[in-house]
Symmetry: none
Subunit: 205 residues, 4 copies
DNA sequence: CATGAATGAGTATTCATTCAT
DNA sequence: CATGAATGAATACTCATTCAT
């Protein structure tokens, strides 16, 4: 346990005792919540430090700058999403099954990492994202296009421009999550299944 | 009132081209572009003044504060969207026709006011929107729910929770626009029609 | 303070119809009240214009700058005080009578021009008063010193350094007015007479 | 910015002469001098920072706002004056002795804290003083009234309205200090004693 | 002459970043 | 390594002054 000079001990730190280097994680967790709540420009570095339970200077021991924090966060969560969704993709199944798998994996990601998902959906990433962060984004899109084209060739998905279909599917997914959040509607398994069925109808041949 | 026909390129207006009261418009136009590009908190007031071709102080002659500018912008564009989409709604048609009408009106709005649409889709409006601005938002959503429920009662739209269907439809629409923008894909009439057909399949009974 | 919609004419102007050049007076009157209330640096030029019922630009038609206004005000009121107090000074009377005359003339000035007196007593005139304004001040003090020295030579006033006596007398007068104002105590003729008697005791031989 | 005439005492402290917490004191000292010289509204925060030898932001680490600085200054000096003057007041002496004690204690305060005294005498405190600051003021005045009334009951002080007498005495004291300052006259012990005798004559029965 | 919209330098205050402890 | 006080550049906003009408 790191020595704390101030009399008050565990102020904001998460319950588990913290071993040395995962201050970095505390910073990222705090930053994630604040960026989602107030946006990148609307969040002050000392606020992040405060919520993470570390000194303001400590952030600069782990990250080059505030922008480095947001980029790390972006890459980390985009990567996590990609891994969760694409790992062990059922390449041999029919498109219907593949789509169902994709959809529910995304749904599980949203359930497990609601802040991470909300963060990725924040707009205006453009102004601070670096090249590497952008590359991950492209990788996922390319996978989606490849999947759709294969299914189209097999006549399982309608023959519309793949980018349009991706826009519709991803948009529907994101819209579903956002509207549910706005209306304080909890999405249970049935809701997710129903929605999945709807969206499949949109792209099936 | 001066008609604004071209959606394009009215930036850094020539010093003596404007008369009196449309300095207010110049400020709103400049702010719109900058908020879309860098977000509310990422945009400095002098930047807005600069781009509008006015002095920094002039902004405060027309608006109480920076927040008053975003709120005006939000209300104005939300209102415009609502009017464009809901005016003379074909109440007697079958759902299929009504849906087509809604879709293409939204498409036309996006084509005419790309920045306005992008602005409305910006997240984190929460932190600065006032009560009046929020009320307009609710009005539009309520209309959508009413439309869907009526169609469901007539058996023309599938009997899924209306908020889920709205999330899917609106999300698909927004996703389509965003992905197209990101991939520098221009959406022509055919593309809009094809997408409309896809999304209708998602909600039809 | 807020936007002015009506193009109407006489909004704040005092009842009497205004003939051309006495806008200058309206400006001075407005400035006097505001300077007393909020100080020179705490008063904005448009506020003065507003209270005077003239346009902001009009002030610059009559005065070089904000500092010119305060200097004019200072000179005008100092001059008025000097005239009121020193004109037809009873040079042949005994010091007791002369003192009584001075005291009650000052009292009458305060009663007639409470704002003017309060303004002259404002501190920090130093930072904006010009040479001419300062000269008037000196002239009055010199007269007081001469009066006291003459009375001291005749053995009617105690032989203490004249500047000290002036400080005491003027200070007592000002203190009286200020404390009365602070305690919302109105000074009637009896009070003024009683106070005069007290202060005379302080300097008589 | 302006010319600095006095080569005296504590200005622009040597960069590394101070330790930790007395940066707060440096700020207060700098603010005191500037407020006396140019008034509250006439003093810019960066000027205070400059004179205190600290960064502009540092002021906001120690004080909520510019107004918090004046209020602290006011309370601190009013308190100091009250303590110095009222502590161990000779309650058993005759009024003549009590008056002498009060007078010379005030004189010593002025000698020790000339800027503090000048600051307290600044007008227009009204616009920024908070309730607590005002309460101290009233406490001192009440003490003066009580002292005078007791002496009047014993027949040692003339039977005039106490507020009038206080106005005269305090006014004379303040006037003395101001006129002396304006004329660059140094008040030595003899001058203070002579003045005290004069003012006592004004109120004795 | 009078006006008030427009201006930009100036104000109080915040915040990303540094560095002595 | 960790800290948080200190910094000064940057921000939102104000105001003395100008000038086209």
């Amino acid at each position: 346990m790191t020595a704390r000079t101030t009399p008050s001990s565990t102020e904001r730190t998460p319950p588990r005792a913290r071993a040395g280097a995962d201050k970095r994680d505390a910073i990222l967790t705090a930053a994630l919540a604040l960026f989602v709540e107030r946006g990148f420009h609307g969040t002050a570095v000392p606020e992040i430090a405060d919520r993470a339970g570390v000194g303001a200077g400590t952030i600069y021991r782990h990250f080059e700058s505030k922008e480095a924090v947001v980029n790390e966060l972006y890459r980390r969560h985009k990567q996590l999403l990609a891994t969760r969704v694409l790992a062990d993709f059922p390449a041999e199944c029919v498109a219907r099954e593949q789509f169902r798998a994709l959809w529910h994996r995304m749904a599980r990601y949203v359930a497990d990492e609601p802040l991470g998902f909300a963060f990725l959906e924040l707009h205006n990433h453009r102004s601070y994202l670096d090249a590497e962060s952008r590359a991950i984004e492209a990788r996922i899109r390319d996978f989606g296009v490849a999947f759709l084209q294969a299914a189209q060739r097999r006549g399982e998905v309608r023959a519309t421009e793949p980018m349009i279909l991706i826009g519709i599917v991803m948009g529907a997914f994101i819209g579903l999550v956002r509207f549910a959040a706005e209306c304080k509607l909890t999405l249970d398994d049935d809701a997710w299944r129903a929605a999945e069925q709807c969206v499949w109808e949109a792209i099936r041949s």
